[in-house]
């Protein structure tokens, strides 16, 4: 199994297209960093416009590496599913298109193992992409912008986290994002089984993610209590929950606390269920599939 995973990873990382994602992420991150370096204050003024009347706001201190990383994650984690689909949507369909799938399936390896190796490789790719993001978005930003307490603007609340209370939250958030993006990978992987070229699964994955995200973010009561809690896209953003603290009786944020850990864990559970569902259906379909490519 490990041998198969190695082979799949070898194939993924020998392809030029794999590095497009790494390049794209680097480019997007650098653009955001540059923008914030030169005009971060106007961005913060927009964010803080609601409270700048009543508070003295030390913009220079607020614009620090931790916040920049948060802004980047916020922006990027909406685009990254695209990059995940680019690889995960290709793992089966791409080989069908190239014609290598039929040779692969005649090898003395069960189709289930082959599929698990392929999905495993997609997950490794996803995790590596996130590590790459973490290095650039977090560590590079910490280097460029320094560190300080982090202020996060939510819809109707501002969260402040002490700087020595932040890093573990990032670790947790990246871990969560890995699961969230693996869900996208699992979806792309599933669609990949049914196609003979990779454009179809890539485009459909992105379409599904976009449509469901819109459904998740629209505030329509009809959907709020019916489909919304069950859409995986409603749970993709739960990594943010790690940055929300509990408050004590006096309204002070408690260091090292998480506002609603059960909700995050529930979201995590839903995402895991989706992954298992997608991968299982993918494997069952692939086992039954006649390879005609």
């Amino acid at each position: 199994m490990f041998r198969l995973l190695q082979i799949e990873l070898f194939k993924i990382f020998k392809r030029p297209r794999t590095y497009i994602s790494f390049g794209a992420i680097a480019a997007m991150i650098l653009i955001i960093q540059l923008g914030l370096k030169f005009d971060g204050k106007s961005y913060l003024q927009l964010l803080m416009s609601g409270i700048s009347d009543s508070f003295i706001i030390p913009y220079d201190m607020i614009l620090n590496g931790y916040l920049v990383a948060f802004v980047i994650l916020n922006t990027l984690l909406i685009q990254v599913p695209l990059l995940i689909a680019l690889v995960a949507g290709d793992v089966v369909a791409g080989e069908a298109n190239m014609g290598t799938l039929r040779l692969l399936v005649t090898k003395p390896v069960s189709r289930t193992e082959l599929m698990l190796a392929k999905f495993g490789a997609s997950v490794v790719y996803t995790v590596l992409l996130l590590i790459w993001m973490a290095i650039l978005a977090l560590f590079l930003s910490m280097l460029f912008f320094g560190t300080n307490d982090m202020l996060i603007a939510r819809n109707d609340v501002m969260e402040q986290i002490s700087k020595n209370d932040i890093l573990w939250r990032y670790v947790a958030a990246f871990g969560y994002a890995a699961v969230a993006l693996s869900t996208v990978a699992a979806l792309a992987f599933l669609l990949s089984v049914f196609a003979d070229n990779s454009i179809g699964p890539i485009v459909s994955t992105i379409s599904i993610v976009v449509v469901l995200t819109i459904l998740s973010e629209m505030k329509i009561p009809l959907y709020d209590n019916t489909v919304k809690p069950y859409l995986f896209t409603s749970h993709m953003l739960a990594w943010k929950g790690f940055f929300y603290s509990k408050v004590d009786n006096e309204g002070e944020a408690i260091r090292g606390s998480i506002e609603n850990l059960p909700a995050i864990l529930r979201s995590l559970g839903i995402l895991f269920s989706y992954i298992i569902l997608f991968v299982t259906v993918a494997i069952i379909s692939f086992r039954k599939k006649d390879i005609l490519s």
């Binding site: 927009l46 964010l47 416009s49 609601g50 409270i51 009347d53 009543s54 508070f55 003295i56 706001i57 030390p58 201190m61 607020i62 916020n74 909406i78 300080n148 307490d149 202020l151 603007a153 939510r154 819809n155 109707d156 609340v157 501002m158 969260e159 402040q160 986290i161 002490s162 700087k163 209370d165 995200t213 973010e217 809690p229 409603s234 953003l237 739960a238 990594w239 943010k240 929950g241 929300y244 603290s245 408050v247 006096e250 309204g251 002070e252 944020a253 408690i254 260091r255 609603n260 909700a263 995050i264 529930r266 979201s267």
Partner: protein, 230 residues
């Protein structure tokens, strides 16, 4: 009822007011004199912020003051959002300038009887419309000050004294102010909805915010440079 009787009453009333006013003026002057003994200070304390839309942890802060009216709250270890009024409506600030002093009698705060004095700025265009001081006459300490402004509502400062009562410096200051509810500008970000019911939304309604500083120590009159307040 004859007119004469009315005039007499009015006159007596005025007489009373003036006599009280003089009393209030001298009380204020005494307080001002006490405050003036402190040229500058550097205090350390813990700041707690209790504002409905701010989730902020306790912060170690340093508070710097220099005569006549320079005040700065600094957080060396991180970020602290300081309400603007907490700096601009300090006691020293409130007590400077020209105003008409009105004696408003006494009020009980717990078991202590406090003298209530109102200050009306002479300048009709000043931001401050009215400030009210609640003074412990025996100790010559301002226990509470309330300021109504044109632009930003009402501020209230409550002080309690301990170790530094001799210098009229409080151990604890609670600053209450009006604030509008915070609303993130639309389209900035997607938030995570964890499914819990949100409190009923209050659009732009004002509510009270509170900032509390517990001072642990003061260093007095060591000659702070102006650069600290930049």
């Amino acid at each position: 009822m004859g007119n004469k009787k009315f005039y007499l009453l009015a006159f007596l009333n005025c007489l009373c007011l003036i006599s009280f006013a003089q009393d209030a003026n001298s009380l204020l002057q005494k307080i001002r004199d006490r405050l003036n003994k402190v040229n500058d200070y550097e205090a350390t304390g813990v700041m707690k912020t209790n504002v409905s839309f701010l989730k902020v942890p306790e912060a170690q802060v340093q508070v710097f003051f220099k005569k006549p009216d320079k005040l700065k709250i600094k957080n060396e270890h991180g970020i602290s959002l300081v309400p603007k009024g907490a700096v601009s409506f300090s006691l020293n600030n409130l007590l400077k300038g020209n105003y008409t002093v009105l004696d408003a009698g006494t009020e009980m705060m717990g078991s202590v009887k406090l003298r209530v004095i109102k200050l009306l700025p002479v300048d009709d265009n000043a931001d401050i419309v009215l400030s009210t001081f609640y003074i412990d006459e025996a100790k010559l300490l301002v226990m509470k000050a309330k300021t109504t402004t044109r632009e930003s509502g009402t501020y209230e400062v409550e002080m309690s004294y301990g170790k530094y009562a001799a210098e009229a410096l409080p151990d604890k200051v609670v600053f209450t102010f009006n604030t509008k509810d915070y609303k993130l500008p639309k389209g900035i970000t997607f938030d995570y909805d964890d499914g819990t019911k949100k409190k009923t939304e209050t659009h732009g309604e004002s509510s009270k915010g509170k900032v509390e500083i517990d001072y642990s120590s003061y260093i007095l009159n060591k000659g702070l440079p102006d650069s600290v307040f930049k």
